[in-house]
Amino acid sequence: MGSFFSLLKRDIQLAVRQGSAFTMTLSFFVIAVTLFPLGVGPELSILARISPGVLWVGALLACLLTLDRMFQADFEDGSLDQLMLGSMPLEIMVLAKISAHWLTSVFPLILITPILALSLNMPGEGIGAMILALLLGSPVLSLIGAIGAALTVGMRRGGVLLSLLVLPLYIPVLIFGVAAVEAAIAVLPVGPHLLLLSGLSLGALVLCPLAAAAGLRLAVD
């Protein structure tokens, strides 16, 4: 366990120290969401109607921005080799990296979501559900993303391939995530949607570290 937390701590420390990743994903998220009113028009009822989808798609794309660095930086400076020689199973090591990614790249997006939701005129009932849905569903983004990141480690233009591999797999989270918010806005029960999202997260939690670890073994080989 000590190894797990030391790696988690180091990755967070690096993100804080470098800082740029934080601010870049956040500003990307904000800008991407801001583009929608400019593209669709300022009519509040339309914005409210599309706000759950816009926020989810924005979060999804913003998450994608930092994914290719998940293992790439460690691969380039030789840390990945060392990380693989530690005493904890590779799957757990991968899970530490995924947790760090979620905490540093996805969680800040969730924090800023209420403000963006308000700017899109999302009804109050929706905002709470949006946050909950993001909290429960967004781990899938980092988990599935880790597979793509592991498979594209060491490639010159891995980022583009990564999006092609990962985005189709994100569709269920997007659908259930948006549905939860829409249900809340329509004053329908939100519980089932949130349960589905949690189910996706749990399933991904079991499966993705295995696949990502297998991908990393290829990368160092």
């Binding site: 498979l151 490639m155 797999l169 259930f176």
Partner: protein, 243 residues
């Protein structure tokens, strides 16, 4: 050293067996396509609701069937390749992918050509078309990853991981898309479930389905053979370099 390398690329038995099957598969494909097209275009009656457009079904539905089955077959091959390290398994998944992608593409295009007279628009976000589209993306990703690795044995493993992850995800995606579609179903759109399948339609459909299947087998044999020989070519060039 030559022996070492050839141990990994000696699927001679596969080539022997397929050499026997190949002419039969090719002949069967032509025969079934002939019969199937005759039934589809001349014998089969118009549907009372959809009129002649129902004839699109005979090229659409078999393509959709094949797109799903080919992906499943790739997933099984990938698993076999990963677990038992069987060299032909990886190659067969690789060989099947472009064929599956073609079928998926056809299912999409014919689906939208069917959609225009049915729904009055070329593309609707119908659950089936949408999940076909996603499947198409999965095929593209699979083929892209083969292209992205220099080392074929690594590419095989990476592609296998990807196709297995995809295979586990396909039911989830399918479920989510179906569910999403029922949630957003606009009232005016007619569903494709409309026509009760009558035997006059079912017969040509099954014939066309079998024809597509044997077409798949035919092309698959050609492509796997090409992959096997390509691997042998690579080995021999390398052996030449060594000397």
């Amino acid at each position: 050293m030559a022996i070492d390398l050839h141990k990994f690329a000696n699927p001679a038995r596969f080539l022997r067996i397929t050499a026997v099957i190949f002419p039969w598969a090719a002949a069967l494909t032509l025969l079934l396509l002939g019969i199937g097209l005759y039934f589809a275009l001349f014998v089969s009656p118009e549907d009372y609701q959809q009129g002649n457009t129902v004839r699109i079904m005979f090229v659409h539905v078999p393509a959709a069937w094949m797109s799903m089955s080919v992906y499943s077959m790739m997933a099984i091959s990938a698993a076999v390749g990963l677990i038992w390290k069987h060299p032909v398994a990886d190659l067969s998944a690789k060989a099947a992918a472009p064929i599956g992608a073609c079928f998926t593409f056809l299912a999409l295009v014919t689906g939208s050509l069917w959609g225009q007279p049915m729904w009055g628009t070329f593309w609707v976000w119908d659950a089936r078309l949408t999940s076909m589209l996603i499947l198409f993306f999965l095929y593209l990703g699979y083929m892209a990853i083969w292209e992205s690795y220099d080392d074929p044995s690594k590419a095989a493993k990476a592609a296998a991981i990807l196709v297995l992850v995809g295979a586990i995800n396909v039911p989830v995606i399918k479920f989510s898309v179906d569910w999403w579609n029922t949630l957003h179903q606009p009232a005016s759109v007619a569903t494709m479930d409309g026509p009760k399948i009558h035997s006059s339609i079912l017969t040509p459909l099954l014939i066309m389905g079998t024809a597509y299947m044997s077409l798949f087998v035919t092309v698959f044999i050609i492509r796997v053979k090409a992959e096997i020989l390509n691997r042998r070519l690579r080995m021999m060039r390398l052996v030449q370099l060594e000397d």
